[in-house]
Every structure is written in C-alpha cells, then in structure tokens.
C-alpha cells in the first residue's frame, strides 16, 4: 500500500501569525521562507536553495558593509523597515563611491507578528532591491519569543566595487573645500516621529528613503578625484555627520543656515517638538565634501538627477584646531552646531 501524498497547506498570509515553529528549522520554516521571502525577492540565487550564494567579481577594490534596522513603527509615511534595510545598506556602499552588487538579509521575528505585516515588509524589500538593481542573494530567519524582540529586526549586509582610482576618505577634507547636501534635510526623522505612539500628528511629510548609488555614480563622473568624501546623514543628522568629518579630517566647518534646504513642514514639526532639523535623521540624502574647483560641475550633475534636484552648497571647511562646526544663523549671529548629548528628546516648553 502506498502512502497518500500529503497536501501542502499554504501559509495563511492574510490572517496568520509568526509562531515559534517558523524559526525551528522544520517544514514550517521552509514554508515561511518559500511563501514569503522567495516569493518577494524572486531571484535565481535564492531559488537554488543553498546556504550561501556564489558570484564572480573581476579583480578590483571592493567594499563591504552591514547594518541593523530596528525602526518603530515599522511602517511609516514614505516607506517601512524593509525599504530602509535595502536602501540604507545600498547607501553605505554608495558613500564609498562604489557600485553596490549584492545584499544579504537576516530577520529576527517576534512571535505573534502578523504574517501580513511580514509579507508587506518582504515585498517592499523585493521592490526596493529590484528598483535599485541590487538583488538579495542570501538570508536567514530566526523567531524569538514574544517580548524578546519588537515585531521585526532586519540586518542586511552588502558588497560593492569601487571605480578604479577613486579613494574617498573621511580624513581627506581640506580647508577651503565646499560642503554640499543633496536635498532637504530632516524628512525621514519627522515622518517616522509623526507616527510614533503618543506623538501622532497630521503631516504630509514622507520619508526620503531612497537608494543613492545612481546619484553617486553621476557625482563621481562629474567631480572625479575632487570629491573628498561622502556620507549619508542618518542617525544624528547633518550635525553628527559634519562633526564626525571635522574630527576625522582635523578641520572646522562654517555653515550658512539660510542655505540649508529644509521643507516648511519639517521646520514646522521640529518647531513644535522642540527639535533641530540638523539633528534629525535622513535616509535618502548625502553630504559631499568637494574641492572648490569641482563644486560647480558637481552641483550641476547632482541637480540633473531626480534625487539631487535640491542640491545646495551649505558651507565650507576651514582651518580650526578646535574642529568646531559653526553656523551663521538666519538671524545673523553665529553658533556652534554640536553633536547631540544623547537621544534627541522633546523639550518641555
């Protein structure tokens, strides 16, 4: 007597929830990977079903990066934790002037996470990776008991290749160099805060979450070795990024407040929350330091790209043994633009 072939039950992606069996290495985990991640990421490397993926790279200078994503809430206006996990790692590669090639993705899921939420996040990742042309070629999933994680944590790693001859470095900034931002600052942080528990406010602001490697390729072509360094001002915002660069290069910066692009809605939200847009996170913006003779071609190339349309020069590097980031305010006075002491917390009054 032959055994009847068991019927393969599909996961209830509409109403089901992640449970501990989805991380236990058995059939349930196999189904989760197949129905959620393989379906969403959809590429030949993953379909091969190996514990790793192989790819060919010509001899060149490579870059590698990794980042963990724990944002709350996981869905916010303009994106979600999935788009962040893809674009954030792509941007870390791109800031070296490199072309991102491949990503990996690891998931820590909290027991009880609705499968519909997981599917939504996975689909966002698939779409973001296809839009950027950077496939997710290997991954891992773990499930932890309720309360041991907050819904979903994602860790992505990426590899990329740098164009020959390009070596950006955070210690390369020289006095006289120009400071350029690729667009309005503070959009992402304010969009996320507008959906935080206890803080919900009405706003039309969307996260600026976007992959910057296309813009970066145009910048590298336009400015060449005149490009000293690039950074994406994520946590800690523009202020933290410029202070890091000042410290690493041993220079100061002077900024002009009225040259820094900030959306009116972001300025207004920061105003009533008692925050400074310079400290607020961005996910689709970059800061570039460029030699003065390459400033104009760089700005022209950036403004010709959709993600750099509002690119602006906002200040210059100066000689300064104290490595201060100073700013002339809209009011006409001067002040320091400092790191935050800790987390940015709203003020009482």
């Amino acid at each position: 007597m032959s055994l009847a072939k068991p019927i393969r039950r599909k996961l209830d992606l509409a109403n089901g929830r992640v449970d501990l069996s989805h991380g236990a290495g058995g059939r349930a985990m196999g189904r989760l990977i197949e129905d959620v991640f393989l379906a969403a990421f959809d590429n030949a490397w993953l379909a091969a079903g190996n514990d790793q993926s192989a790819f060919e790279v010509a001899a060149c200078r490579m870059v590698m990066t990794t980042d963990a994503y724990v944002v709350s809430p996981i869905f916010f206006p303009g994106g979600d934790i999935g788009t962040l996990a893809v674009n954030g790692t792509i941007n870390d590669i791109a800031m070296a002037g490199a072309r991102p090639l491949y990503l990996s993705a690891s998931f820590v899921l909290e027991e009880g996470l609705p499968l519909a939420d997981l599917v939504r996040v996975a689909r966002s990742m698939g779409e973001a990776s296809r839009a950027a042309g950077v496939p997710i070629i290997t991954g891992d999933t773990k499930v932890v008991e309720r309360g041991k994680a907050d819904k979903i944590f994602i860790s992505t790693a990426g590899v990329g290749v740098t164009p020959p001859g390009l070596a950006l470095s955070s210690d390369a900034v020289q006095p006289g160099d120009a400071v350029v931002v690729s667009g309005t600052i503070g959009d992402h942080g304010v969009a996320v805060m507008s959906k935080r528990e206890n803080l919900e406010f009405e706003t039309a602001i969307l996260s600026d979450c976007a992959p910057l490697h296309g813009l970066v390729a145009d910048m590298v072509a336009a400015a060449g070795p005149g490009l000293r360094v690039m950074r994406d001002p994520t946590r800690g915002g523009l202020a933290a990024t410029l202070n890091e660069l000042a410290n690493q290069s041993g220079v100061g910066f002077t900024l002009e407040e009225d040259a820094i692009p900030v959306r009116a809605e972001v300025a207004a939200a920061c105003e009533f929350l008692g925050l400074d847009p310079l400290n607020v996170a961005n996910e689709g913006k970059l800061v570039a330091i460029v030699a003065p003779d390459r400033l104009e071609p760089l700005l022209a190339a950036m403004r010709a790209h959709p993600l750099g349309a509002r690119a602006a020069m906002i200040g210059r590097a100066v000689e300064d043994p104290d490595r201060f980031v100073e700013m002339r305010t809209v009011f006409g006075g001067g002040r320091i633009v400092d790191w935050l002491a800790g987390e940015q917390l709203p003020r009482i009054c």
Partner: protein, 384 residues
C-alpha cells in the same frame, strides 16, 4: 513658516541691533538677565550676542524647570519608579538629569523600572485608564506654564474616579525665584547682584499676567520687559530695557502683547488655585531653599499626591562643592569662571544644574557658544 519666520528676520534684526548700538552709552555696562530658558535657547540658537554691543551683557537666569530641579527630588522620582507596580511618566528632557551617584531616570529605566516618556499629562492619564493594575505616577515639573495642565489632569482623574493615578508635584513659581536673585546669595554671601533689568518670561506671563512683576520695578528699581521667545522679541526687549535704563525708568513693560494680557489667564489661574497650595519652602538647584516658591496638592486632592500616597521623603543630596551654578544663576559669575565648566562638567556628564538642559546657562554656552571662548576662533572670526 508663517507667523514664525517673521520673528527671525535677519534684516529687522540688524535694524534693531543698530538702534541698540546707537542708544547704549559707551561709558556703562548693561547687565540684563533673561529669566527663562526659552529666551536663553533663542539667544544661543540664533547667536543674538553677536549682534549686540560688547557692553550689553546677557545673564542667563534660572527659568529652566529641568535645571532647577534638585537632586533630592529626582532621587525621589527614581525611588518612586522602583516601587512595586509603579509606572512613572515623565517629560523627555527629564530623562537624562543627573541624580545622586550618577543615577538618572534613563539609567533606572535601563535597570528595569517602568518609566515612560510622555508628551503631556493626558498621555499619563490614558496610560492609567488603559492599565488599571499599574500605579501611574506623573512626574510633574515646571513653572506656571505647565502647572495648569497638571491641575487639569488631577481634576480629570477625580472626575473619572481614576484610582491609580497620582502626581509627584515639583511645580515652582517664577516671582519668588526672581526675588531670590535680587536678594543675593543669603547670609554670608557678599557677591554683589549686578543685574540691572529683566527680560521677563513669555509663556509664564501668558498665565500669570503682568502684575506679579511690579514689585521688582517699584521696590527694587529693576525694569522688567516681558518678551516672546523668538529672537526678534528678545532683541526688541533688550532695546526697551536699554531705553528704560538710559531714562532712569524702572517699569514693567510688555513686549509680548500678542500673547500676554495684563491680568493673564484667569481660567488657568483658577485651576491652579483649586488644586494646589503653596509649600512653606522648596529646594531649588543652584538657588537653595526658597520660601513660598513651590506648590503641592491641596489636602482635598491628597489621594492624587504621590508623596502622600507612597510616603515618599526627600533625602538631602549635595551638588559638587566646586559647582558655581548658584553664582552663575545670580549673574555674579559667567560659566567660564567655573572651573568645572567644559572640563568635568559638559552636557554629556553634567555636574551642576546649569549644564543639564539645553536651556541651562552653561549648557547653552557650551553647546552653541563655546567658540566665543576660544582665542583661535575669535581670531578666525576677525579675519573673516
């Protein structure tokens, strides 16, 4: 931003600055105290000092609720948060304030206490409603600006018969602190009080009005100009104070007429009076114990008073003896003259009250203005 950018206009700022420069007498120094942290923040954030003549000096006052909260009260809140079933709700900028032995609410939270950051008293009420098994304590701090909201929360809790909500009250009052500054550091302290005029509070005055400042003008001869929190408000108030001093006048003037009325907000005053009574004395960080300077819940609301409900008591805790906060808050010293400033005492590791919040005198100087204390930076500026 409509109705905001107008008050930050650089061209108008230059014209007011020119008027101040024209009218100040070169042979004297004008020492003006902005009482409020909101003013300190605006002055520092917009670099207002760069627009003023060198003989107009701004002295940053104690009007920062986070700064003046003494360690003993913070220790009390931390102890309260450690009690069984207690959920302590606090405003965000209290989280990092240092208590005794390097403690803070942030560290207590990391160690397991249920401490939640809220943005209003209503958030705390909602938590109490949603989680009836928790004892929800609202850590109330602030001047007359935030007191009415706490009063409303207590009344709402009573109306809704919320049995698990209480308030750890640290509300303080502005006029007694201004009085203390003018009266100096008490017996044995010979430091002269050099303040010649006050930039009066903005939000506090929307509640208490203009009248409570009259004695400082009438009895002490110190002009007071109530000013809004935008940098142009402050610049205009400075011009008004310079004119009063030049004319030998000492009056209470209201620059912030778009929000402050002579008698203030009667409804808010009534709510405060209904719920709170004056404490005999209260310890202020940097100023010491000041008589009749703070509020506690009236006996009729005893069940909403966390101090009574949980039998909380203050354990005296001393600030670092080298800390000059007291002298700085009275305008007798500048942050630079404190030997802790910028060395062991920075916003990352604050020792004294003035370094705690961005609105504190020392923190504002360090965060926004320390380039002015630096010779190399000054030279660079001259060249530019």
């Amino acid at each position: 931003m409509k109705y905001v950018d107008e008050y930050r206009d650089g061209a108008l700022a230059r014209s007011i600055a020119a008027a101040i420069a024209r009218e100040v007498r070169p042979d004297r120094v004008y020492r003006l105290m902005e009482f409020c942290g909101g003013h300190t923040h605006a002055i520092s954030r917009y670099g207002l000092e760069d627009l003023l003549p060198a003989n107009v000096r701004l002295i940053h006052g104690p009007g920062c609720p986070v700064c003046v909260l003494p360690m003993a009260r913070l220790d009390m809140a931390i102890a309260c948060a450690g009690l069984p079933a207690v959920t302590l709700c606090a405003y965000g900028d209290l989280m990092r304030v240092p208590g005794s032995n390097g403690s803070s609410l942030l560290k207590a939270k990391a160690a397991g206490a249920d401490i939640r950051m809220v943005y209003s008293t209503l958030d705390a009420l909602r938590i109490a409603e949603a989680e009836p098994a928790r004892e929800v304590v609202f850590f109330a701090v602030g001047f007359e600006t935030t007191t009415p909201a706490t009063a409303l929360a207590v009344r709402a809790a009573e109306r809704q018969a919320l049995g698990n909500f209480s308030v750890l009250c640290n509300h303080v009052m502005t006029p007694p602190a201004m009085r203390a500054i003018l009266d100096g550091g008490g017996e044995g302290d010979e430091t002269p009080v050099l303040i010649e005029g006050f930039i009066g509070p903005a939000h506090v005055s929307t509640v208490i009005g203009v009248e409570p400042y009259r004695p400082f003008a009438r009895d002490d001869g110190k002009p007071v100009v109530i000013a809004g929190f935008e940098p142009l408000d402050v610049a205009q108030a400075i011009l008004m104070l310079v004119r009063q001093i030049n004319d030998g006048r000492a009056e209470v003037e209201n620059q912030y007429i778009r929000a402050v009325t002579p008698s203030g907000n009667a409804r808010a005053q009534a709510e405060i009076a209904a719920v709170f009574e004056t404490r005999e004395a209260f310890e202020w960080r940097g100023l010491g114990s000041l008589p009749a300077s703070a509020l506690r819940l009236r006996p009729a609301f005893a069940r909403y008073d966390a101090e009574r409900r949980f039998g909380l008591a203050e354990t005296p805790a001393a600030d670092n003896p080298a800390c000059e906060c007291g002298a700085i808050l009275r305008g007798a010293k500048t942050p630079r003259e404190c030997r802790l400033f910028g060395t062991v005492c920075t916003p990352d590791t604050p020792m004294g009250s003035c370094m705690v919040s961005p609105e504190g005198a020392c923190a504002a100087r360090w965060t926004y203005g320390r380039f002015r204390d630096n010779a190399a930076a000054a030279r660079r500026k001259e060249i530019a």
